[in-house]
């Protein structure tokens, strides 16, 4: 009697188990099919971001170029967006952007490269393991902090030495921006130099050269593509940098090469105009997007150039 009921019990549970299993399977099948679709949708958000950026910049910039001829925009040396007879020439902004970036790369280029040489060619493993992360702390400091530093510390020092310098000027943010991108050049160049195989270095040293000679005649030529790429990326970073120049370089729209004066960069213009509540639909408002599109194009070209240089001219061992 008991065995009979047990049997029946078993029979039921087996058929139940089969049914359950089927259900489970269809659930798994559903999961296996739907999850990749869901994940693909998530992945396409990054594509949508790019499309969104391009679409907003281009569609709004077109409005701008319908009112301001594209040639006037790119060749105009006068930027007077708020005057009675508004002028929209981007050259003052391009000028400010390029000058601040050039100052930055003049600081960061030599110092970053020499740091890379020290870390890659001279420092012992122990020293490198301490110095490299410390140097990278510089890259992790928010740019607003550098802006504060440039405005309240570096500018007063420069003015004490060189009294003609104005309270807002292009020199101080340029220098501070240079310090900010040192770790970028140092780190990327060091990576490029460390990836030069040791046998080449040792071959050179065995010929009786010093470390210095090996570095400049063997290692740097071999790592040149990576080093140039790091410079290009650093310049692109400087071009897109916003807060340091917004705070410390002011908003003068003069077309000048005088480092002691305030100059506005493309990024600082975007901050000024968007913060000033430009009425939607005005030429002033659309000018934001034209400037941003130019900025976007510049940085994109620099980034693609860096990638091209490091791929095309890489020495393979």
């Amino acid at each position: 009697m008991t065995s009979h009921s047990k049997k029946e019990n078993n029979a039921v549970s087996v058929s139940e188990m089969i049914a359950q299993n089927k259900q489970k399977k269809s659930f798994h099948n559903f999961n296996e099919k739907s999850i990749p679709v869901f994940l693909f949708l998530l992945a396409s958000i990054t594509i949508l971001t790019t499309i969104g950026i391009l679409y907003t910049l281009i569609s709004e910039a077109i409005h701008f170029f319908m009112e301001v001829p594209i040639l006037d925009f790119f060749t105009g040396t006068e930027l007077k967006p708020l005057s009675q007879d508004p002028q929209f020439g981007i050259l003052p902004l391009l000028n400010g952007t390029l000058i601040s970036s050039i100052i930055a790369i003049l600081v960061a280029g030599p110092i970053g490269l020499m740091s890379a040489i020290y870390l890659s060619e001279y420092a012992s493993d122990k020293v490198r393991r301490v110095l490299k992360p410390l140097l990278e702390v510089l890259a992790g400091i928010p740019t607003i902090v550098y802006g504060f530093f440039a405005f309240t510390f570096v500018t007063p020092i420069i003015r004490a030495i060189w009294p003609q310098v104005e309270a807002t000027n292009i020199l101080s943010p340029g220098l501070v921006m240079g310090v900010m991108i040192i770790p970028m050049i140092a780190s990327l160049s060091e990576d490029a130099m460390s990836s030069v195989p040791n046998r080449i270095r040792e071959g050179s040293l065995a010929m009786g050269t010093t470390r210095l000679e090996t570095t400049f005649k063997v290692v740097i030529p071999a790592a040149l593509s990576g080093i140039i790429a790091s410079f290009v990326l650093a310049i692109s970073r400087a071009i897109g940098e916003t807060m340091i120049v917004t705070i410390a370089s002011g908003s003068s729209k003069n077309f000048t090469f005088d480092l002691t004066q305030s100059m506005q960069t493309m990024t600082a213009y975007i901050v000024e105009v968007s913060g000033g509540e430009a009425p939607a639909g005005s030429t002033l408002h659309y000018s934001l997007y034209a400037v941003a599109l130019t900025l976007f194009a510049f940085t994109l070209i620099m980034n693609l150039l860096a990638k091209y240089v490091s791929r095309k001219f890489r020495e393979e061992y």
Binding site: H28, N31, E32, P36, L39, F40, L42, A43, I45, T46, I47, T49, G52, I53, T56, M114, S115, I117, Y118, Y122, A123, L131, L134, L135, V137, L138, G140, I141, P142, T143, I144, V145, F148, T152, F153, A167, V179, P183, A186, G208, T210, L212, S236, G240, T242, M243, T246, V271, S274, G275, E277, A292, L295, F296, T299, L300, M302, N303, L304, K307
Partner: protein, 295 residues
């Protein structure tokens, strides 16, 4: 004869070359220290300017035009609210994208398009994201300059960082774990959810924290969104206006030419911001060291 003279002269020449080498070695060393030197001055200046102003009442009081009573409770709360948007959005989208790219996407057109696109997005200046946020979230979706708009804008900005680090984390999980799981009859999603993700989570978290600290310090996109630093009510939800720590620093720095004490307030706020970033990074390093598994 000439040959032996050359050999005789060699030691001198070598000495000179070695001296040049030693000289340049110290130059290289000094330029490495230069960056650290500036870092030290920067931190010293900020602490010297701000430490005296940093006390409990500064952290807990509301914003005020009077430097003596002004506090940053609104900015701290605003930053917390924004992170409440950024953290889930970037984690879900970022890890999801990484799983898709590493586990599902077949090598080919689509995968390379998405990956190239992410690499390029990482190089787009942050202020351009601000304009995207202004156009899409603030105006088109008509959120206004609220927590949600700021959070979504910052999420898009740090997404590439998280995707790349999550991809690396997933790639680092050894293939035999995956194979063993399939061998036991597990499906692909079961394998990902129960084997690969748990093994990769410490590295993913490290990347996520680094992305967070980038988002916390970011100012430029918020200035474009029109985030104010006025006497606004404290934010209590996703659709409230807010200010954030970096915005507070920005406005106080700008106004320091009018009221000198504002520079001290800005410095005190910078200390708070840097301490938060330092804690976040320490947690990231701790997780990396503690859970670094060697298979």
């Amino acid at each position: 004869m000439a040959k032996s003279q050359a050999v005789m002269r060699q030691p001198n020449k070598i000495n000179a070359r070695v001296r040049i080498n030693t000289f340049w070695k110290s130059i290289f060393f000094l330029s490495t220290l230069f960056g650290l030197f500036v870092l030290a001055i920067l931190i010293y200046r900020v602490v010297a300017d701000g430490m005296a102003w940093l006390d409990l009442s500064f952290l807990t009081s509301r914003l005020s035009t009077d430097p003596n009573t002004a506090g940053i409770s609104g900015a701290i709360l605003g930053t917390l609210w924004v992170m409440l948007v950024v953290i889930p959005v970037t984690l879900i989208v970022g890890v999801g994208t990484a799983i898709y790219l590493e586990m599902y996407a077949k090598k080919g057109f689509m995968k390379s398009i998405i990956e190239t696109n992410i690499a390029n997005l990482a190089g787009v200046p942050s202020i351009v994201y601000g304009l995207l946020g202004l156009t899409v979230f603030v105006r088109l979706m008509a959120f206004g300059n609220v927590v949600l708009a700021g959070g979504l804008t910052l999420s898009l900005l740090v997404l590439p960082i998280l995707v790349v680090s999550a991809q690396e984390a997933l790639r680092a999980v050894p293939g035999y774990l995956e194979e063993a799981s399939y061998g036991m009859g597990a499906t692909k999603w079961q394998t990902i959810r129960r084997i690969i993700l748990p093994a990769a989570i410490p590295s993913i978290l490290t990347g996520a924290i680094l992305a967070m600290s980038r988002a916390i310090g970011e100012t430029a996109p918020l200035t474009v969104l029109g985030i104010p630093a006025l006497l606004i009510p404290l934010p209590g939800g996703l659709f409230d206006t807010f200010t954030a720590l970096p915005m507070q620093i920005y406005y106080w720095t700008l106004d320091s030419s009018l009221v000198a004490e504002y520079a001290n307030l800005a410095a005190a706020t910078i200390i708070v911001l840097l301490v938060i970033l330092f804690i976040l990074n320490s947690i990231a390093i701790f997780i990396r060291n503690k859970y670094q598994q060697s298979y």
